[in-house]
């Protein structure tokens, strides 16, 4: 049974349609990413399923039940920005959250240590840096050991070490059997951590499925694609001769040289010898699996939403 099922969810803000008939299901024990450019409706969607916002139309169910407050007590959520009482310490803020949930008060020292905030637990929230505020919010989601976690841009404000820690934390939580729903626009992170993904743009669901499916689907073809970076002394000439090579999906000039996308049956050796035959000696040949970023930009186009 799906952990979360969303049915034709629509949300209008006066004339702006933030969500347009979005439907999908989150399978249990997955790390489910919700990707989209800025303004695509990710936070609106999470706001609706957490009962912060009221939908204009449509419905959703957590674990088959029409959303109830008891259920929200079993979900650890971080939505948009950390919202805590400024004049209270980190510890006291967690105490209030635990009391509302009705459990987890004993977990407070443990979760603070997990996010490296234990030393500053008695400092007032308004003395925390942005990264510390974010980490307190993450600590709050862990109270009571919930089976479901919802993270909206969890790495916001964190330094690289923090980002890596959160990545490991999410993986560990998933290993423990928890379902994690994560909204993000940092595709690199999503690719490293998520098992499934839904891509949303301008409130419309563009695609949904496992990360593997999405990365290896090009339009309607079920073909695994490669992305190869090449470089030569004369990149212009290299681009011209590559455009003449058959079987390539695309040839593009970038800051790093030339990027080609081709199906897996074309090998780097083939590309290398083709260039050499045409009189161009490569000084760079770098094979990358087609990344989620490329697929994402293919699906959503290259412009951020307003």
């Amino acid at each position: 049974m799906a952990i979360l099922s969303i049915n034709n969810l629509t949300k209008n803000y006066r004339s702006i349609r933030a969500l347009d008939n979005v439907s999908f299901e989150v399978p249990p024990k997955t790390v489910f990413g919700i990707l989209g450019p800025n303004g695509s409706g990710k936070t609106t969607l999470l706001g609706i399923v957490m009962d912060i916002l009221k939908p204009t139309n449509g419905s959703f169910k957590w674990a088959g039940e029409q959303s109830s407050d008891e259920l929200r007590k079993q979900i650890g959520t971080l939505l948009e920005t950390p919202n805590f009482y400024h004049y209270l310490s980190g510890e006291d803020n967690l105490r209030i959250a635990a009391r509302i949930k009705g459990k987890g008060e004993d977990d407070i020292p443990k979760v603070l240590k997990t996010v490296n905030l234990y030393e500053r637990r008695k400092s007032k929230f308004n003395s925390y840096s942005l990264g510390m505020k974010q980490r307190l919010a993450i600590a709050s989601t862990l109270l009571g050991d919930p089976g479901i976690l919802v993270f909206d841009e969890p790495t916001n404000g964190l330094d690289p070490a923090g980002i890596a820690e959160i990545r490991e934390l999410i993986k560990e939580l998933n290993r423990q059997g928890k379902t994690i729903i994560m909204a993000s626009h940092i595709l690199d992170e999503v690719e490293k951590v998520c098992t499934h993904v839904a891509i949303i743009q301008k409130g419309v669901l563009k695609t949904v499925g496992s990360v593997h499916e999405i990365m290896h689907t090009s339009g309607t073809q079920n073909v695994t694609s490669l992305l190869i970076e090449l470089g030569a002394a004369d990149n212009g000439l290299l681009k011209n001769i590559l455009q003449g090579m058959s079987g390539l999906e695309s040839v593009a000039e970038t800051d790093n040289g030339i990027e080609i996308i081709c199906p897996e049956n074309i090998t780097p050796e083939q590309v290398n010898s083709y260039c050499f035959e045409k009189g161009v000696v490569l000084n760079k040949l770098n094979v990358k699996r087609k990344s989620l970023e490329t697929r994402f930009l293919e699906i959503t186009g290259k412009q951020s939403d307003r």
């Binding site: 009962d51 912060i52 008891e70 919202n83 009482y85 004049y87 209270l88 209030i96 959250a97 009391r99």
Partner: protein, 268 residues
Amino acid sequence: MFNLFKIEWLKIKTYRTFWILFAGFLIFFPAGFYLMAYKYMERMSNAKSMEENLLKALLDAPFVFPKVWHAAAWTGGMFFVLMGMLFILLITNEVQYRTHRQNIIDGWSRMDFLKAKLSIMVFFVLVSTVLVFIMGLIVGSQFSPAGASMFDGVHFVGYFALMATVYLMLAFLVGILIKRTGLSIIIYFAIVCIVDNVLWLVFTLRDSQLGYYMPLEAVDSLVTNPFKPKIMERRTVADYTLIIAAGIYISAYVYIIINYFRKTDLKT
């Protein structure tokens, strides 16, 4: 609801602004009332009028039994505006800092949030009513001549509780709807000090008793200024009608608050 109150108490027990305003009321109302009583009674006893007049005035003085209950309730009402402001602050803070969202995300229902705030309101009404009663008792016992009927007129303490409830319910409504701290307080004061009195004036000048049924005027008229001579009193409608009106207003505020908060998006 007591569990909700305990969580609310966790929120405010270390909040300095809460203690400043709350202690302000707890200290300044009793101190102010006692001082007023002391000065008044001192002046009375120094008066050079005839003994009979003096006795008559003394028996009707606002600071002796039984009229002290009326005076305590009215004075409490004057200071109570501090509590109204405090209550607005507690509500608008939650909206400004978006902690009301966090409470819901963590598992409270919209009704839970409202009930939690209601529990604080009840706490304020109880504490201030008990204080009014205690002050009435202290001042009355201090300044009354022997034989004065002690608990005649104690119903004014009940009127105070009703007045406190109406004032805080209005603060609740203003805070929930307006959401911004500064603007809410300004609008609250505008209603309390200006709007309500203007409405009363408009009706009363037309020789209508309707002015006494205006939202705040209804409870204000139950506990009138004890220093104003009775002759100037223009109200002819009975007390119980005002109590019913107050009850209707409280129900209306509750209805609007619940309906609004249940359906709204929780944003700043």
